[in-house]
Symmetry: C2
DNA sequence: TAAGGTTACGGCGATCGTAACGATC
DNA sequence: GATCGTTACGATCGCCGTAACCTTA
């Protein structure tokens, strides 16, 4: 058993068990990886893959269990490299941040700008995705840090910290009836609603709040990002339910924002990363920066 | 980086950073491991060891952090081998059990006998040690499973399960005044006491019970095993406080045992093993056997 | 001077690449 | 015939062992 065999197993998963593609990713010829896989299975004593003819089509139960350990080893090896690089120069490196549109646009600009001043040598890569995908990115090491409001609490492989809390606002054109008077569940529910897609930016809180109130929302448009919602609110399609910090008094002066903290419970945006993943010092500082808002 | 370099680092710790001994353990010449260590440190980019002249005298902070990952990799590699062997034949293998004298003598005989009938192909190695040492044995992979009453709860790397609960008894010669009448804290405390050493077999429960009662015990002999206590009780040195199951009505017919469940809270004997350690099927069955008492 | 570690160098074997072949869609 | 995988074989490079040397208790 050696580390390139472990690496091969990991890459085979990434490539849907395609030996040729795995060989390419490992910068060796295909026959080499074929041979290495044979050697490993020989050493193990049982096949790790189900085969249909010569093709690998699935993991055996044994293979599945072994893959768990392969993941562990891969992560630990990666950690050693990160740790070493961190000791050599803790001011240089890269952060891969995975986040949602709303956080990227309305929350991250300040922390990132502050961080860049302190660590000009650190490259920041940002990937935008749905909360579900964010978690997947963490698990596949495509991102180091995820920042979002939903989903991350339920994954026990993740460490999560709360960055900040916020509440929803309703936005509408200036001439809309909801601009004046008290906003109640019932009143809000009487208009067509535009808000975030399932699994995005506090949508779950909207769900639970209105389920408890007994009123049902008529959601006519669900979007992953706030700007789409604003656009259609401007077109008069209905009332937008968005994250409070996504309303900009200057840019959105044609819209009215009304606080909904009395209707929808606080949402909190969290930062999450893999438990087993070593974060370099600058990443730890980046997280601290996030805490400051 | 490769697995033998990782292995080397692990073994260096075992050998107090002695390269020559590490070479011996790895069945290669000393110059080979010297070279491998150099290569690894070169790849890492910083030294992992503090050196005094040429000798390795300590881990650098970097080295310490890297060792954590080395441990992880070692464990995962071991797991792969165990898993593979388990799939090949789950009726063969070895269990290394670490336990205390009392458990080995008064609790384990039955479960082990039942287990041996089901798995005649599994070799059982038993090591006897103090509870503190048991935990160390688990961490250094010298034991797979530890069985004892004390200590194991506080280690978060361990999974523990309760095997059975028991209470203490007082034992004394037949003509002893304590043979008759109600036993109270005060009365018990008026005699010289013989019981387990600190950190052994429910000793902590004795401590807390008597601390709360306000009476102080006069412990004139503390032993790691019950048989030593019995011996000196027979010699008339005082009253023995032992685990209830350690009194054998036949063998110990010259002694009287009196139940102390009204004075000393229940103790529970647990089985513990490392979280990250894959246990083969037969070991899991062995643990089930323990649960049956 | 014994014990622990490094450096230099030659030999051997593991692993790779080339290439030809087999199977499956 | 394009894709995917295996087998055979020669070449290469990494790693080991021998051996000489250095350093410190």
């Amino acid at each position: 058993m050696n580390l390139s065999q472990i690496e091969l197993l990991r890459i085979l998963q990434e490539t849907q068990l395609n030996l040729s593609k795995a060989a390419e990713k490992m910068h060796v010829v295909q026959s080499a990886v074929s041979r290495q896989l044979q050697l490993f299975e020989e050493e193990i004593g049982s096949p790790l893959f189900e085969r249909s003819g010569k093709k690998l089509i699935a993991l055996t139960p044994l293979g599945k269990r072994v893959m768990v350990e392969v993941e562990t080893i891969t992560q630990a090896k990666l950690n050693i490299q990160t740790i070493a690089a961190d000791f050599l120069d803790s001011n240089q490196g890269t952060i891969h941040i995975a986040t949602t549109h709303t956080q990227a646009k309305y929350f991250l600009p300040n922390p990132i700008q502050r961080f860049r001043k302190k660590y000009p040598g650190v490259r920041i890569y940002m990937v935008q995705a749905s909360p579900e995908q964010l978690i997947y990115q963490l698990h596949t090491h495509k991102a180091d840090i995820a920042i979002c409001t939903e989903k991350v609490d339920s994954d026990f492989e993740l460490i999560t910290q709360q960055c900040y809390q916020w509440h929803h606002s309703a936005i509408m054109p200036k001439d809309h009836p909801l601009c004046t008077g008290e906003i109640t569940y019932k009143r809000l529910a009487s208009y067509p609603i535009l808000t975030y897609s399932f699994g995005f930016t506090g949508r779950s809180n909207i769900e639970t709040a209105f389920k408890q109130s007994g009123c049902e929302l008529d959601i006519i448009l669900a979007a992953a990002d706030t700007d789409v919602i604003k656009t259609y609110v401007r077109l008069g399609l209905g009332v937008g339910l968005i994250a409070g910090m996504a309303y900009d008094a200057v840019i959105d002066q044609d819209l009215i924002a009304r606080d909904l903290s009395h209707l929808i419970p606080l949402s909190s945006t969290k930062v999450a990363y893999l438990k087993q993943n070593y974060l370099p010092l600058y990443s730890q500082h980046f997280i601290e920066e996030l805490m400051l808002g």
